[in-house]
Amino acid sequence: MTQYIPFLILFCISLLQSTVMPRITVLGVHPDLVLIAVASWSILRGSEEGMLWAMIGGITTDLISGAPFGISTLGLLVVGFLSGLGQRNILRFDILIPILVIPLATLAYQLIVLAGLTALGWHAGWGMSFRKIILPSMLVNSLGMPIVYVLARSLHRRLGREEFAW
């Protein structure tokens, strides 16, 4: 039963993303709590659980979002998959790893979303999007990562190694 607690937490994080995060603007963007949480959990528990988190976080986000349904889920799935790859137990507790991973995860996620939006007729310009959204987001999410990662690590330790199976 305890293995379902993270999903409840992730659902709450998704709601926070649409209610609290809009009030926090740094460098013109809002920290992406769902993305950071998915990347953190994936680093700690591996790709399998990371992708499950990505599914839940992505679907919730897509339901709230004005973007076409599925774009966020797709982006987060890729983040969940990539962040959990190649992580060995010995590295999972090193705070440097997530700080290095999150800018790349943000870049991958934003590129997927921007490509999806562009393909569906939404156009803000790639150059402008890079300058105003993607680069600031990479920095802002890196700043938020240590806090979320430490909390996720604490939850990971409490739950033990009982991993969720698909």
Partner: protein
């Protein structure tokens, strides 16, 4: 008998001593002895008296404390009630002010039927992607809301309904990059196209070179293209870009609506938008704008909802 005699003797002696004492006291002869006694006993008396006083005070304080505590609880409860009442009154005052402004807007735009909605989740710029500008309101199809309906506040244009559910709607804000509005400059009537930019900015483009546009000019919806009614305030010009080699001028526009602080909005339910999809992509050349405009006839017979 001897025992009785000795007891009587003792009684008589004591009585005699008492009588002598009375006489000596009357004569003032006992004063030094009395002084010495009192001198010795006064500190002890003070001590005892003080202790007694403290006990009495403590008892009294305890009683007072109980009274004070009870009184304090009553006062705290009263303060809580007053605070709640105060918050409620302030909220009512703010709501009253807000509704008064909306009523003013309604009275100055009697041709539209307006539905008021509370912003349920302020999601402007809160998209997970940070790319889009959308907010969710708490009215939907059950309130007569339909896709494409314009959303306004008393300050001006907010956006239009993007998606509708039974009791919710998503509003695509006018500052979203996918949003574009046919506009005109209020003073010179110069036409143009206002579109959203990343970061909550607006840009007015396609303003003919021969037209006049200046900083501070108010920009209104022109009604062309069919996705918004005519005459709604969009914003104010902050900078103008005019180069002789360009075919058109452009200008940065500051939105009149403060999107971050939105609490309630109005949805114009009597306006029938035309060719929403075409207008959303900013492709104004797909159909003749003038012809589209002809179809935008706000319901003149409609009466404002009380």
């Amino acid at each position: 008998v001897q025992n009785l005699r000795s007891r009587s003797l003792a009684l008589g002696t004591l009585a005699l001593l008492v009588v002598m004492g009375l006489i000596l006291d009357e004569l003032g002869a006992l004063a030094p002895l009395e002084g010495l006694f009192l001198q010795l006993t006064t500190p002890i008396q003070r001590l005892v008296d003080s202790a007694t006083e403290r006990v009495i005070d403590a008892n009294s304080s305890l009683r007072d404390l109980r009274d004070l505590r009870s009184r304090n609880e009553q006062l705290e409860s009263l303060v809580d009630q007053l605070m709640i009442e105060n918050v409620r009154l302030k909220e009512a005052e703010a709501q009253n002010e807000d509704l008064r402004r909306k009523l003013d807007f309604r009275e100055t735009h009697p041709q539209y039927i307006l539905k008021a909605a509370e912003v349920r989740g302020r999601v402007i710029g809160s998209e997970p992607t940070n790319f889009m500008s959308v907010l969710i309101i708490d009215i939907g199809t059950q309130d007569g809301i339909d896709k494409g309906m314009p959303v306004v506040t008393e300050r001006g244009l907010v956006g239009r309904i993007q998606k509708v559910g039974t009791n919710w709607s998503k509003v695509l804000l006018v500052v979203d990059p996918s949003s574009s509005v046919a506009a005109l400059v209020q003073s010179s009537r110069a036409p143009g196209l206002v579109s959203g930019r990343l970061g909550g900015e607006l840009m007015m483009t396609y303003v003919p070179q021969e037209e006049t546009i200046s900083i501070g000019d108010v920009i209104l919806t022109s009604g062309m293209s069919g996705n918004y009614p005519k005459g709604l305030v969009i914003g104010q010009v902050t900078t103008v870009e005019q180069r002789d080699i360009d075919t058109f001028q452009s200008a940065s526009v500051r939105p009149s609506v403060e999107f971050d602080g939105l609490e309630t909005v109005l949805v114009i339910t009597t306006f029938a938008p035309v060719d929403i999809e075409g207008a959303a992509t900013g492709d104004l050349t797909t159909e003749p704008a003038a012809e589209q405009d002809a179809t935008i006839v706000p319901d003149e017979t409609a009466t404002p909802v009380p």
